[in-house]
């Protein structure tokens, strides 16, 4: 359990993120739609978009923890198709 009251330094910082702390914070700047694309007006980008998604899935499939999420994702993917 995280000691919330101790002034932080490297020696006292919890190795794992503390969900109870994180849930109170707002990420004030993020790019969850993958902004670093420079030819977004091209058809290639649209093809690439799909392949990027596929590569992400392929990577995720190698992680054991992904399977629970994958089961939850299947109905959503089916509804999109």
């Amino acid at each position: 359990m995280t000691d919330l009251s101790h002034p932080r330094d490297a020696a006292h910082w919890p190795e794992n993120p503390d969900a109870k702390l994180l849930e109170r914070l707002v990420d004030t700047h993020a790019h969850p739609t993958d902004y670093k694309q420079f030819r977004v007006h091209k058809e290639q980008y649209r093809d690439y978009t799909a392949s990027l998604a596929l590569s992400k899935v392929s990577l995720s499939l190698t992680l054991y923890q992904t399977w629970g999420s994958l089961r939850r994702l299947l109905p959503k993917l089916a509804s999109l198709g």
């Binding site: 009251s5 994180l22 707002v26 990420d27 993020a30 670093k36 299947l74």
Partner: protein, 339 residues
């Protein structure tokens, strides 16, 4: 469910989506983790084509996503400010912005430049984007910010990604960058129009400043001194992943507008700065924010946890103390209707 059936079902569904060629696929991947996030994320738009993606992401997760709409300086060259209803021709527009590109393209040895030129899109009139996209998006989303907008003296346009052998188009993977930089006057024109709209609609701004601290300070000082809209508005400005100096922080907080301007830090961009902790210490406690500044939502928790730790060490705060202060700062930044 049998593992093989599960994989086949999944891949089959994914294939049908890919074949449909829709942009929904990418956001669906983001959805996978955004749904699991325990906190809100300000999702930035950057160019003409991702405003709709951010909108869609917000609609799927209204409690997790705070949308931000606007044009980033990296794509400012796609925009024309020509008066009237018709944009200039592609050649006219890019020749005006990048005279050296056309000179090089005439050279028979400059195939790469010619390819780059051909890869640029037809220019879009700013007046059209403003009227048909940005203003309606902000009006339709009362909690939306303007972002990401700003100035960048460092960025150079990469050669065509479509020619890259790498199958990734992340700009860091690009083999070469051109020497082309979007003129500061063009970036400023785009920025001024967008900020003016944000202030008219009382929207907060997420502000990109890379090696343009002088120009940014001049702009903010001029707005604070001369703009009636600035004076009437309750908009706040977040200088995100701030990489300036202690001197700039002091100039902003003491001489420009302490109440309106916040400083946010990320490990994604700021970790490379030796003076990061010094910068964080220089920011008044009630004007400090944190961010991931990352384009993969799966890393969100890690990035936020990292910068929280840096803030705690810089300010000698406990984790609880830091979270309380940052939480309060965000509430003031995002909801207060007075300055």
């Amino acid at each position: 469910m049998d593992l093989r059936v599960l994989i086949q079902s999944f891949m089959s569904t994914l294939k049908s989506i890919i074949q449909a060629g829709t942009l929904r696929t990418l956001t669906s991947m983001a959805v996978l983790r955004i749904a699991d996030l325990c906190r809100q994320v300000c999702a930035m738009s950057s160019h003409l084509h991702d405003q709709a993606l951010v909108k869609q992401l917000y609609e799927e997760h209204p409690n997790k996503i705070i949308p931000a709409f606007g044009l980033h300086p990296w794509w400012s060259h796609h925009i024309s400010f020509q008066p009237g209803d018709e944009p200039p021709s592609k050649q006219e527009h890019y020749a005006r912005l990048f005279p050296s590109l056309y000179d090089a393209a005439k050279d028979s040895e400059s195939d790469a430049m010619q390819t780059l030129l051909e890869s640029f899109p037809e220019p879009t009139l700013m007046s059209t984007f403003l009227r048909e996209r940005l203003r309606p998006l902000l009006l339709d989303h009362p909690n939306a910010m303007l972002g990401e907008v700003g100035l960048d003296r460092s960025f150079r346009i990469p050669y065509s990604q479509t020619d890259a052998k790498s199958d990734r188009s992340d700009f860091k993977q690009a083999k070469k960058f051109t020497n082309l930089k979007v003129p500061m006057e063009h970036q400023l024109q785009l920025l001024n129009i967008q900020i003016d709209l944000a202030f008219e609609l009382n929207r907060n701004v997420s502000f990109h400043d890379v090696q343009a601290h002088g120009a940014v300070m001049d702009l903010l000082a001029s707005l604070a001194k001369n703009s009636e809209r600035w004076k009437r508005s309750t908009s706040r400005i977040c200088l995100h992943s701030f990489g300036g100096s202690v001197d700039v922080i002091q100039r902003v907080t003491k001489h420009i507008d302490r109440q309106r301007i916040y400083f946010s830090f990320s490990t994604t961009i700021n970790a490379r700065l030796e003076r990061l902790e010094e910068l964080i210490r220089a920011v008044p406690d009630d004007r400090l924010l944190i961010e991931s500044d990352y384009n993969d939502i799966r890393m969100n928790e890690t990035r936020i946890w990292e910068i929280l730790r840096v803030v705690c060490e810089a300010k000698s705060w406990s984790a609880e103390q830091a979270v309380s202060i940052l939480q309060n700062n965000w509430n003031t930044f995002s909801t207060s209707d007075t300055l």
